[in-house]
């Protein structure tokens, strides 16, 4: 099976500062893969490279077999993204935001309206279509952003720390919504976070620390390998050991 996302030996640096160092991992279709790392681990750089904001200095990134640099159109049309920063246009209504996004994928306004209504209904926001994006709460904005990212029916969804700044209930709702999508639509999801409690035992986890992949397995396997009590404990051991090695 072709992976939804495949990174091979990806390295990137800003001047002398190395942000990513030989990163390789895959996200399978129908999997909820967690990219776990502290702030500054390189998660956002990785997202910028996958979404082709800029090019990796070394290595290859494929989305369903399409290389993002050589076949950007084919790769990006299979990709939905929820960025860390809020990216809704606050001056526009919720539906206008969706129609604009659809246009950026070549979907006309009538079809966009139909798809938008269905996506908002799924996100539990059908009655907010005409409201200005500015009037939504943080959790609602995130749900609209997910609805928007799925409008063009991508097969891979990237979310960069989507729960930051949300209250406990909004976080749980958002997580449940995305996990449901993975089950129902067999989406490949890459969920970047630094919050341990968002990880389930069977989730594939990639631990990124100072730009390097330190572990790449299911949460359960990582915990077992480290002889740790839970994934949080395992994360501390793995990154702590790496830190010691670095300072030695």
């Amino acid at each position: 099976m072709i992976p939804a996302l495949a990174l091979r030996n990806v390295s990137h640096s800003y001047g002398a500062r190395k942000a990513l160092d030989d990163v390789s991992f895959c996200v399978s279709p129908g999997s909820f893969t967690v990219l776990l790392g502290l702030n500054g681990a390189g998660k956002s750089t990785l997202f910028s490279l996958i979404t082709r904001l800029y090019a990796a200095r070394r290595g290859e990134i494929d989305i369903f077999g399409h290389n993002v640099m050589r076949e950007p159109g084919a790769a990006l049309r299979r990709l939905g993204v929820v960025f860390q920063a809020r990216t809704l246009d606050l001056e526009l209504s919720v539906m206008q935001n969706l129609i604009y996004h659809a246009a950026l994928h070549g979907i006309g306004p009538i079809e966009a309206h139909r798809l938008g209504q269905a996506a908002l209904a799924r996100a539990g926001l059908a009655d907010r279509a005409k409201d200005k994006a500015r009037s939504l709460s943080g959790g609602q904005m995130r749900r609209v952003e997910i609805a928007r990212a799925l409008l063009h029916d991508p097969r891979l969804l990237l979310l960069d720390e989507p729960t930051v700044g949300l209250d406990i209930k909004a976080r749980a709702d958002l997580l449940a919504l995305v996990r449901e999508l993975v089950q129902e639509k067999s989406l490949g999801v890459l969920w970047a976070t630094h919050l341990i409690d968002e990880i389930a035992n069977d989730d594939p986890v990639v631990i990124l620390h100072h730009g390097k992949v330190l572990a790449n397995d299911s949460a359960r396997a990582i915990v077992a390998e480290q002889g740790a009590a839970n994934i949080g404990d395992a994360f501390t051991r793995i990154t702590g050991a790496a830190q010691e090695k670095l300072s030695a």
């Binding site: 001047g15 049309r77 950026l104 994928h105």
Partner: protein, 276 residues
């Protein structure tokens, strides 16, 4: 059908949907930001009603093409004010691009599967359309101040000139937006770009007058792209073509556009060098 074999290209219709979507959004934003529209109108009107009225006695304009008689100073500076609207609009679009980039909105545009040159071109055309609307709103008010072309056709013949000069100034703004990392740095660019471009041009005074007082300033004005945008508009408003200015505006537009597209190119651009 496997994922790999799925279709990849877009049809012409889809390109048009994308272009009209970008223009539509820019139009909506413009309508929602009424203060932006008002300030875009007030700025040239202040120049016209106050500055020009005050200086009409001081600054005499001799008969120079495209004018066939003596003209009032207000009439002389009107094309410069039209270009000024577009200059501010171009810079404002670039400001919004820096803002969008900081806020993340720019990413939703750049992550679209359409080619990046097409996305940037669409954004540019959207800005030009808005600037042309502003110019015509200005001309409507100026009409009641007795500033009008010799025949009504002038309103139509000036349109291609406005489109080209809008493209040039928008492309310059886009290039600048790629070079500016943060919003805080923008005020300096406004001072270093807008004011020198406007004052070292033929917008406020004919270049022969500049030449009399300072030859080096005259040469500076001659190479200033804004001078040629103003002259292109001035001649087109009188249903004439300023060929040298047309060629230069075309050349400057191409250069700015190519540089902006390179600056936004993922593999070579400035975004990559500075980390977004």
């Amino acid at each position: 059908m496997s994922e790999r074999a799925a279709p990849t290209g877009f049809t012409l219709r889809q390109y048009l949907i994308c272009l009209s979507g970008v223009v539509w959004r820019e139009g909506l934003r413009f309508l929602h930001q009424r203060e932006r529209f008002v300030s875009a109108l007030v700025r040239p009107l202040v120049w016209l009603f106050i500055f020009a009225a005050g200086f009409r006695q001081v600054l005499g304009v001799s008969i120079i093409p495209p004018y066939e008689t003596y003209v009032l100073y207000e009439v002389y500076i009107a094309p410069g004010l039209m270009a000024m609207i577009q200059l501010f609009n171009g810079m404002q679009s670039s400001l919004s691009m820096v803002y969008d980039r900081e806020m993340g909105n720019m990413r939703t545009l750049l992550v679209s599967p359409f080619p990046r040159w097409f996305l940037l071109g669409s954004k540019l055309l959207a800005g030009v359309a808005v600037s042309i609307l502003q110019v015509y709103a200005f001309l409507l008010i100026a009409y009641f101040w007795e500033i009008e072309p010799p025949t009504k056709w002038g309103y139509l013949s000036v349109l291609p000139a406005l489109a080209l000069s809008g493209l040039m100034l928008g492309a310059l703004g886009m290039l600048l937006s790629s070079l500016i990392r943060q919003l805080e740095n923008f005020a300096g660019v406004m001072n270093f770009v807008i004011f020198p471009m406007f004052f070292a041009s033929s917008a406020l005074y004919p270049l022969w007058r500049v030449k009399e007082s300072s030859p080096w300033l005259y040469y500076l004005c001659e190479v200033n792209p804004f001078t040629h945008a103003v002259e292109l508009i001035r001649f087109a408003f009188y249903e004439k073509v300023a060929w040298t200015s047309l060629a230069l505006v075309f050349a400057y537009t191409s250069a700015f556009l190519v540089a902006a597209i390179i600056a936004y190119d993922p593999a070579r651009g400035m975004l990559m060098r500075r980390g977004g």
